[in-house]
């Protein structure tokens, strides 16, 4: 009897890795088989970039007596393009947390919980799976780059993809944190929309913080409360970082974006891990 206790407790590195792979693969497979999610992932960027972006494009530049001035030296399409990437990632990440509720309510979670994998590995696998799917949906937006007059060199793309990864990881963790706090699917639908849309609209994604596009508009300012909302929204800095990568435009100190993204990823993951260890 005592001979067995001296064995190393739990799973070895190989088991950990194969378990991580299994959980990741399952998340990805489930997402691939969920047509609804894919339709959303494709239709969202088309609506935001091709319809709203092109539609509002003319209003983004002020023109006075033939003289065109820009505070934001880009077209509206170019301006919102990085934000739509963030939006698509945000929807998919948070939605992927539905699978957490699914697992809990339909018993699959137990199958995982009685496995020799530690909670950390299980959670990491789930979140990496959701992150992968969200990254894919982010890349669906990138496919529309040429319609938005966005050109980037490979190094921009690499930077952009790593920022997208951090954002997707952080938001998927946030999704799991939310999922752990709601009891039902219906609740989650309401909750996620109540989180996603306000975060998106107050992240300076569809309008720049400085509304004075032209000299004639310099007196136009946003009310203080809106500016505060935008400034305290962490997504603002994520979108800003993505803009930096894809159109080289920053509204804030370029260092803030990556820092906020890393803090979000690590912070939400740790909260999710704490919740998850209670099961």
């Amino acid at each position: 009897m005592t001979t067995m206790v001296t064995q190393p407790a739990g799973a070895g590195l190989t088991t950990q890795l194969s378990g991580l792979y299994a959980i990741w693969l399952r998340e990805v497979k489930r997402a691939i088989r969920d047509r609804g999610q894919f339709v959303g992932g494709v239709s969202r960027p088309i609506l935001w970039v091709l319809i709203m972006g092109i539609g509002l494009n003319p209003y983004f530049r002020g023109e006075i007596y033939g003289e065109v001035r820009f505070v934001v030296p880009y077209t509206y399409l170019q301006y919102i393009f990085p934000a739509v990437i963030a939006l698509n990632i945000m929807y998919t990440s948070v939605q992927s947390a539905v699978s957490t509720i699914w697992d809990r309510e339909f018993g699959f979670l137990r199958e995982i919980l009685v496995s020799p994998l530690p909670r950390f590995t299980i959670l990491l696998g789930k979140i990496l799976g959701g992150t992968t799917v969200a990254m894919f949906h982010g890349c669906l937006v990138l496919a529309l780059a040429r319609f938005a007059d966005i050109t980037f060199v490979p190094s921009d793309l690499l930077l952009g993809l790593s920022l997208m990864f951090l954002l997707a990881f952080g938001l998927t963790s946030l999704g799991v944190v939310i999922a752990n706090r709601v009891r039902s699917f219906e609740g989650f639908g309401v909750f996620s929309n109540a989180v996603i849309l306000p975060l998106y609209f107050t992240s300076s994604s569809i309008f720049p913080l400085e509304p004075s596009l032209t000299t004639a508009q310099t007196k136009v300012v946003y009310p203080e409360w809106l500016v505060v909302l935008v400034q305290i929204n962490p997504l603002t800095y994520a979108v800003d970082a993505l803009r930096g990568a894809f159109i080289h435009f920053h509204q804030f100190d370029p260092r803030i974006g990556p820092i906020v993204l890393v803090v979000m990823a690590v912070g939400f993951f740790l909260i999710a891990l704490r919740d998850f260890s209670k099961f």
Binding site: G19, Y21, R30, D34, F108, I112, V114, P116, S184
Partner: protein, 329 residues
Amino acid sequence: MTDGAVPEVVIDGVTKRYGRTLALDDVSLAVRPNELFALLGPNGAGKTTLLHILCTILKPDTGTARIGGVDVVAHPLQARRSLGVVFQEPSLDDRLTVFENLNFHGLVYGVPAARRKSRIDEMLHLVELAEWRESLVRTLSAGMKRRLEIARALVHDARVLFLDEPTVGLDAQSRSRLWQHVQALRKKRDLTVIVTTHYIEEMESCDRVCIIDHGRILTNDTPAALKTAHGQQFIRVVANDEPTALEIVAAYPGLAHRKDTEIVIKSSGEAFAEALLSRFGGRIRRFIVEDPTLESVFLSLTGRELRDAPASARERTFQFGKRGGEHTK
């Protein structure tokens, strides 16, 4: 243990409390290797709590539990490697295929690739699901899903298989087939099986039955020994005519009662039956000695019948999901 074998599962002084409810009260138990061990008890008796402690998803307040010598409280991850669990509620991913579910399990338990493939094939043949290998789990019947869960629990080298109410919700045919598969598995490999069930007749084939109520073990023995010790033998008699019937009822006050023409008499054993037969033998049409059942053992020990619980909130959510409730759809 009387036979000197090293027990596979040992539970020692386990107590578990939920708030003010005492779910398990100083429970001690030992299960021998390769035994088919049954836990029987009404709802809320503590069976599932005990099972969850053994499966390491619940920690006892006091006491220890060991599986194959590994303390499940101190080394849960290590203990889980020798466990195969089939929960009361289904725990398959029905968007994955039969093979994908099994392969997932194999990967999570770190079963090497070659062994994983051969073990999956072997298990699928054993539970007769080989031709469904590539089907999505949602297309399987309830009985097939249960068999698949048992197969899955044994993809890794499980030494102890826990079955929590494995036959709930299955029709009679699926139930007997499931038990055939469990018996076949036990012949095939070294396996200790611990099962809880509502269906008392299923306990007959178990090596030992442990009756538990209000968190305490009431008795723990072979089905035959339990019936001898606690069971009640009944004799059913149909008399030739009415006067005889009245005479029989009068002869056994408190022991006999009538159901139309039939008289049911509580018997105290073979001698009792012989005495009855020698006295009324010529005047009765039918004479049936009913051996004690586990049902009667259970009744006499707990004073309760086994009953089903109403649908829980989880059950309702499950129904919602079955109708296609995941809102990304």
